[in-house]
């Protein structure tokens, strides 16, 4: 545990990715199994405990210290783990600390009743730095400036392998990664992942630039709507091929398929979407957008009908909204707001599943009918997908519509037109000859988002930030006018540069007029141009509106607060 704590400490204070990678590589080389594997899992964020969580920690500390003092300390420090590491009131340092493996195994097997007691014991025998490392295991998110991706790169370098190989292995192996590490050290064969239901790292797009638009030519690109849901990967394997030890899917309910739904970053989110998983079978890996789609239940018959007439209208015209490639039924897509109630639900109720049913708009296939398509061109993959949709009937899968443009000019027109529909976020533009490459290869796929909505709002309150912004006033509540009164409409903590943050922090300190716990009220004088993706009606806020992903677009040092927008201006932007 001491070596792990020392590593985290070093990583935290070392700047520069190369130096960090060196520290981690040294640790891996000099630490025995299985400790090093658990440390990798902790850094990559793949370590999870059922009962040792952020709330366990918060509850424990408030039982042992004054809650008001804890709250004030936390507000100042900006991080739970560190606050607790310093505040824990008992100290009996021990020379024989448990190993990282012992700690992990203890928390993996401890009962819900015993978890607090165990944690308290560990905190008492550790130094503040060790406590911090310990608490980070439970609260996850180490914030040491090392991403899961860079851990994979470090492992690739360590074993002299290509990162792609690590990426494919990654989701089939589990902590403490003993097999993978001995393979990387040349001491064992590559772990067998042939039949595992695993995540395949996804291909990502770049934001489009003006120069890319100007270089647009006919017949080179596939154009699609950019849907406003979440990107997911649906993996389905016939059950008989699955090795029990490596299976990760949780969607099986005794049917013959083994399946899983992964988020873009590889988190298994199957448990939240049983309705989608129950409906699928086969041997495939599909890439698509998860959305609330209201006509999933009723469309079955229509989808079958579409088999007969599908195929001919593949090249849908952009103005032909009904042309959904081979699937005749156009999905009745709801907003992201609607999808949000389905996200992070461990067990969605039947009622929720029927009021907010989910479906998948499929835009690519990595594997179809057991055949790996990643080395084929997008055009070939699309053709395979269209054929597959013609012979398959599924009420929850929809083929992504392709749109048409022949020149930079018509592409721009198409973008304007598409963005009028608020359920769509913009356009995706992909090279027809692109292979499916994990990561973000240059010049292959582009996203062209709609222009954000903006309003001029007035800063009303400020709060200190967290993590590296600890102590800076970096979270701002802003409002707009209704008659002579400002009503708060949202909170933003991004969009500005470090330099601007310093100025804003300074402005808040100089213009604070009141205080409510950690919140500072400021003079109603500073106008913030706030950008956001959408406005929704909301009963939770006095203003009656909620903004989606608000961020500071510009700071209007020059603009008088009286000239900021009104609530009526904001309400006019509500979609639908």
């Amino acid at each position: 545990m001491d070596a792990f704590s020392h590593l985290l400490e070093q990583l935290y204070f070392t700047s520069g990715n190369k130096a960090k990678a060196q520290l981690i590589a040294d640790y891996i080389a000099n630490t025995p199994d299985p400790d090093r594997g658990w440390a990798i899992a902790a850094m990559a964020g793949t370590l999870r405990f059922e009962f040792f969580k952020r709330n366990t920690v918060k509850k424990l500390i408030t039982e042992h210290t004054d809650p008001a003092l804890f709250a004030m300390s936390y507000d100042y420090v900006g991080e739970v783990s560190e606050t607790v590491a310093h505040l824990w009131p008992y100290s009996e340092p021990s020379d024989s600390l448990p190993t990282l493996t012992e700690v992990v195994q203890t928390f993996a097997s401890v009962s819900k009743q015993k978890v607090s007691e165990t944690l308290a014991h560990y905190l008492t025998i550790m130094t503040p730095a060790q406590r911090w490392a310990l608490l980070k295991l439970g609260t996850r998110g180490l914030r040491i400036g090392v991403s899961a991706r860079s851990i994979k790169q470090i492992l690739a370098d360590y074993g002299n392998k290509d990162i792609k190989e690590i990426e494919t292995l990654w989701h089939a192996v589990t902590p403490p990664y003993v097999d993978m590490l001995s393979y990387l050290e040349g001491k064992a064969d590559k772990p067998d992942i042939e039949n595992a239901v695993t995540f395949h790292p996804v291909m990502l797009s770049h934001p489009i630039e003006d120069s890319d638009i100007n270089a647009f030519t006919k017949d080179t690109w596939q154009i699609e709507n950019k849907y406003d849901g979440i990107r997911v990967q649906l993996v389905v394997k016939p059950n008989n091929a699955v090795d029990d030890k490596t299976q990760k899917g949780s969607g099986s309910d005794g049917d013959e398929s083994e399946k899983a739904l992964f988020s873009r970053t590889g988190d298994d989110i199957s448990h939240s979407f049983p309705d989608l998983l129950e409906s699928v079978s086969g041997n495939m890996v599909l890439d698509g957008e998860l959305l609330v789609i209201h006509n999933v239940e009723h469309s079955n018959g229509l989808a079958k009908d579409s088999v007969k007439k599908g195929g001919s209208n593949v090249k849908a015209q952009s103005d032909d909204k009904g042309a959904f490639a081979s699937s005749a039924t156009q999905p009745d897509v709801d907003t992201f707001n609607a999808l949000q109630q389905r996200l992070n639900k461990k067990k969605p109720s039947k009622a929720l599943q029927s009021s907010a049913p989910v479906g998948l708009i499929v835009y690519d296939a990595l594997v179809l009918d057991g055949e790996d398509l990643t080395d084929k061109t997008l055009k070939a993959r699309r053709n395979a997908l269209e054929e597959w949709f013609q012979k398959t009937s599924n009420s929850r899968l929809f083929l992504s519509e392709t749109l048409n443009a022949t020149s930079p000019q018509t592409l721009r027109q198409l973008h304007t037109q598409v963005c009028q529909n608020r359920a769509v976020e913009g356009l995706m533009i992909k090279r027809l000859d692109s292979h499916y490459v994990p990561g973000r290869p240059k010049g292959q796929w582009f996203k062209w988002k709609r222009d954000p909505l903006v309003v001029d709002a007035v800063m009303m309150y400020a709060q200190r930030g967290h993590g590296k912004r600890s102590s800076f006033y970096s979270d701002y509540t802003f409002g707009v006018w209704e008659d002579s009164q400002l009503l708060p409409i949202g909170k933003a903590y991004s969009g500005f540069t470090d330099e601007e943050l310093k100025k804003l922090d300074n402005w808040v300190r100089r213009n604070a007029v009141g205080r409510f716990g950690p919140v500072r009220e400021v003079k109603k004088e500073l106008v913030l141009e706030v950008a956001f993706d959408a406005v929704h009606p909301s009963s939770r806020h006095k203003s009656g509106v909620a903004l989606r992903f608000p961020r500071i677009h510009r700071i209007r040092w020059d603009k008088p607060a009286s000239e900021a927008d009104t609530l009526a201006n904001v309400k006019a932007l509500i979609e639908g």
């Binding site: 204070f13 003092l69 004030m72 300390s73 606050t83 310093h86 993590g467 102590s471």
Partner: protein
């Protein structure tokens, strides 16, 4: 008469009406009593200044001989009358020459403790517990997360780092008055006998300490080192702001070290780009603040600046009346003295 009727705060600072003087005023005033030499407490240009001889010497070093028209040196334990008000200076243990000031008027005793600490400091006599009705205290580190480790422990971290990275120049950011000399003395106490190298901003005050009889060992200005490469493996002390400055680029393979009470908070250390944070403070940590309130045992605690919420909350919990003075200008986070 209760002190709240005659001891007031305004934009300039804490004002004693019947005595017609300010304590540690921000702006130029007719009569100023100054607790210690840090820039946010001791300003130039007052008509009359009362302070310890060391504090006056520090102010002269910083602002010139003519930093105030009339300069009165006040000895420790000495009382001076201002109209019907009696002011007495006692040691505060913060830095060289630092004092707290007892004000007696109309049957009440008020102690303005200035900045203070309770740990041993070889450059100044220890904080004296002065019984009073009202204790006016700072709360720079007034949160229970602040528990400063022993300075020996932090100095050992620096010496350990010198052993592990003998090829790197250890550039220590430390405030020029107080912190710098304390770090030097602690290194000497730990047996570090090599020369210590100084940024130009640290020189004048180190010279003053030497003149006042404090032995800092061999100090060499960095500007006098012809080949900066020879500073690999050496200790250089500079103001914290110089760490990110162009100045430090001439030094070989710098390992940035910061000595400050704030270094206890990781994110703060990160913000200062410290690779090696040393928790060395000239203020009380949380247990010392509480210890002081208990020992002084006043009827009321007034808090000047810092994390006043938590200290007031705790003082009330301990049975003392507490209020915040919310003095402006003691910008302990930016101007040092931490």
């Amino acid at each position: 008469m209760h002190p709240s009727t005659w001891l007031k705060t305004d934009d300039t600072g804490l004002y004693c009406e019947p005595g017609e003087f300010y304590i540690d005023p921000m702006n130029e005033v007719a009569t100023a009593l100054v607790t210690h030499g840090h820039a946010d407490h001791a300003r130039a240009g007052h008509h009359r200044v009362y302070a310890s001889p060391e504090t006056l010497a520090i102010m002269q070093t910083r602002y010139g001989e003519d930093m105030a028209t009339h300069q009165h040196a006040v000895a420790i334990g000495e009382s001076i009358n201002f109209n019907d008000v009696k002011a007495t200076f006692y040691p505060a243990g913060h830095i060289l020459g630092s004092t707290q000031i007892l004000i007696e008027y109309a049957g009440y005793r008020v102690v303005v403790s200035g900045d203070y600490k309770r740990r041993h400091d070889p450059t100044c006599p220890p904080f004296k517990v002065v019984p009073c009705d009202v204790l006016i205290t700072e709360a720079t580190f007034g949160l229970p997360v602040f528990k400063h480790p022993p300075i020996e422990h932090e100095i050992e971290k620096l010496l350990h780092s010198l052993r592990v990275f003998p090829e790197r120049c250890h550039l220590v950011g430390a405030y020029a008055l107080g912190k710098c000399q304390r770090v030097i003395l602690a290194l000497r106490e730990a047996g570090y006998a090599k020369p210590i190298y100084l940024h130009g901003a640290q020189l004048k005050l180190c010279d003053l300490y030497k003149q006042l009889g404090i032995d800092l060992g061999e100090l060499i200005p960095v500007s006098e080192v012809a080949d900066k490469k020879t500073l690999a493996g050496e200790i250089v002390i500079a103001p914290p702001s110089a760490l990110a400055d162009r100045w430090s680029r001439s030094l070989p393979n710098v390992r940035p070290v910061v000595a400050s009470g704030w270094m206890q908070i990781r994110a703060r250390a990160k913000q200062k780009n410290a690779e090696l944070p040393l928790i060395i403070s000239d203020h009380c940590d949380w247990p010392e603040l509480l210890q002081t309130i208990e020992e002084v045992n006043p009827k009321e605690v007034w808090v000047t600046h810092g994390r006043e919420d938590a200290l007031m909350y705790q003082a009330e919990k301990m049975g003392f009346k507490a209020k915040a003075l919310s003095l402006v200008g003691y910008d302990e986070e930016e101007q040092g003295g931490d």
